[in-house]
Symmetry: C2
Subunit: 308 residues, 2 copies
């Protein structure tokens, strides 16, 4: 079967870009993969890893003649990159992105998309704390959601082709309004990252407990947070700069609830604590049933399952 796209151009070849490259190659989704990134060092590394067929520092050159262009750069860079490549986009091409925030990306990219080119924003909800072209792996998107957030006038056929692309990468695709996307992700991803950064930062600044004690005796809860807090600072800076309202809304609620828990601790209100701790259990059960998590105990190392 002929690949569905002739030329796939990836602009930005970090964790997400390189994972798309590897997966698209394995699933034969493009006849040719063209890669562009800002720095020579990253471009050289992408070439060494054999992630694509051609390599350019100039994003516009890379985008020329492509029928699918995906921006895999931090959210704040999407507007400038769209502006850069705009003059070279082929009529009928699909331009997409993978940004973790959608409304701001739509706002910054839309004005640059030429007539006759189809802009279809998307966000694969899949990632790790690693970044750069070495971090990618072809299975990253398997059984993960990819949210497509069409904009006014998005071409139905272009949406369908991009959805088919992500489905072929292994994702479950769903459409969502960009504003709603940003709200949902604010609570399921952005706020948890902010909290993790804050927790690890708090531990870092204590005078009463030493750094080496924190590191040595870091229990499960803290270890998980250090993983999130090891994520790329540029990517996350851009997320918070570009999803301010939804993050502040969730953060306000979080702080309110935390004040109530703090009060229960201060007054030794065991009943309130028990009630607060009891009602959260079933959410996890539901997530496991939804197939987005395994129930296996995992406290920072892999526990062999019976029969594994």
């Amino acid at each position: 079967m002929k690949p569905p796209f002739k030329r796939l151009t990836l602009i930005g070849i970090g964790l997400i870009g390189s994972s798309i490259a590897l997966a698209a190659r394995r699933k034969e989704l493009a006849e040719e993969i063209v890669i562009s990134t800002r720095s020579e060092a990253t471009l050289d590394r992408a070439r060494e890893l054999g992630l694509g067929d051609r390599y350019y520092l100039d994003a516009a050159e890379a985008a020329e003649g492509a029928d699918l262009v995906i921006l895999c750069v931090p959210v704040g860079a999407c507007g400038p990159v769209a502006k850069w490549i705009a003059p070279c986009l082929a009529p009928g091409a699909i331009v997409s992105d993978v940004g973790s925030v959608k409304e701001a990306v739509v706002r910054s990219m839309s004005p640059h998309i030429p007539q006759g080119v189809h802009f279809v924003p998307a966000h694969p909800i899949a990632g790790t704390e690693h970044s750069g072209p070495d971090a990618g792996f072809a299975e990253l998107f398997e059984n993960r959601w990819c949210l497509i957030t069409p904009v006014e006038g998005s071409d139905a056929d272009a949406i369908a082709r991009l959805a088919a692309f992500w489905t072929a990468l292994g994702s479950n695709v769903e459409e969502m309004d960009p504003v709603r996307h940003d709200r949902v992700l604010a609570i399921t991803s952005h706020l948890p990252h902010l909290i993790a950064y804050n927790l690890v930062g708090t531990a870092h600044d204590l005078e009463t407990v030493t750094q080496s004690e924190v590191i040595k005796f870091s229990a499960g809860g803290f270890r998980d947070s250090t993983r999130l807090a090891a994520s790329d600072p540029t990517m996350w800076r851009d997320v918070f700069l570009n999803n301010k309202d939804a993050v502040l809304e969730m953060l306000g609620r979080f702080s309110e609830e935390l004040a109530a828990l703090q009060r229960a601790v201060r007054w030794g209100d065991g009943e309130a604590l028990y009630k607060a701790f009891e009602r959260t259990r079933y959410i996890r059960r539901n997530i496991i049933e939804a197939g987005q998590e395994t129930p296996a105990p995992d406290f920072g190392r892999h526990v062999k399952e019976p029969g594994e």
Copy 2:
């Protein structure tokens, strides 16, 4: 070789008690394992699982003639159980516990320990979010820390024997002052759990994002929190009731730092955000180097490593 203990009595046979039972049996650390728990249902289940040699609902009967008694019950139950078993403790016996808080446990158990019995509190820093006798596994303590927090007048020989027991279970043993223990664990374990409960609770109460959206699109950060927030509510209620001061101290710092981050988000201060996100990375690197974590990406399912 003869097992180092003749009779090991475990009072409480949930995650920690059953893991000790399985590991002690495998490593031949006791000639006989005696089990006691409060409810008939749990005792029956322990018997079905073959976790011990004898089973009692009466903790005092179970403790009789044991040379090592370990309380594996919630922190708040340690005092009452110590009082219950006190009259039956054999002279020279070692009494220990596994509570996640130490100063309060020392305060509540010490008065009940008879002359000639050695009280040596301990805390294995190992756990999962599961509880009950089915949750245990013999490898739980391998390569994990076990902190022993001797009290005034703790017998050096008894400390050494308990340390050897935990070393045989696979743990790295270290001594620490109970007050210091509670401070360290407040930041590495107790606060992270409180935060996780609070985060999942916040998501649960939102009106602007539905439960099913939270469950469906729960990204890595949130999924980790749901794991912590699925932990046993009784155990955690008791932790917060019994480590109030240290938890409130850490929580105060956490909230202060969070207010600063919130301000940076509100004012779009990218530099402040970047700086806050940058400095937390190396802590994880150090934890990995300390052998308490693997660098493998793990976003809720096991990713095969090359060569695995």
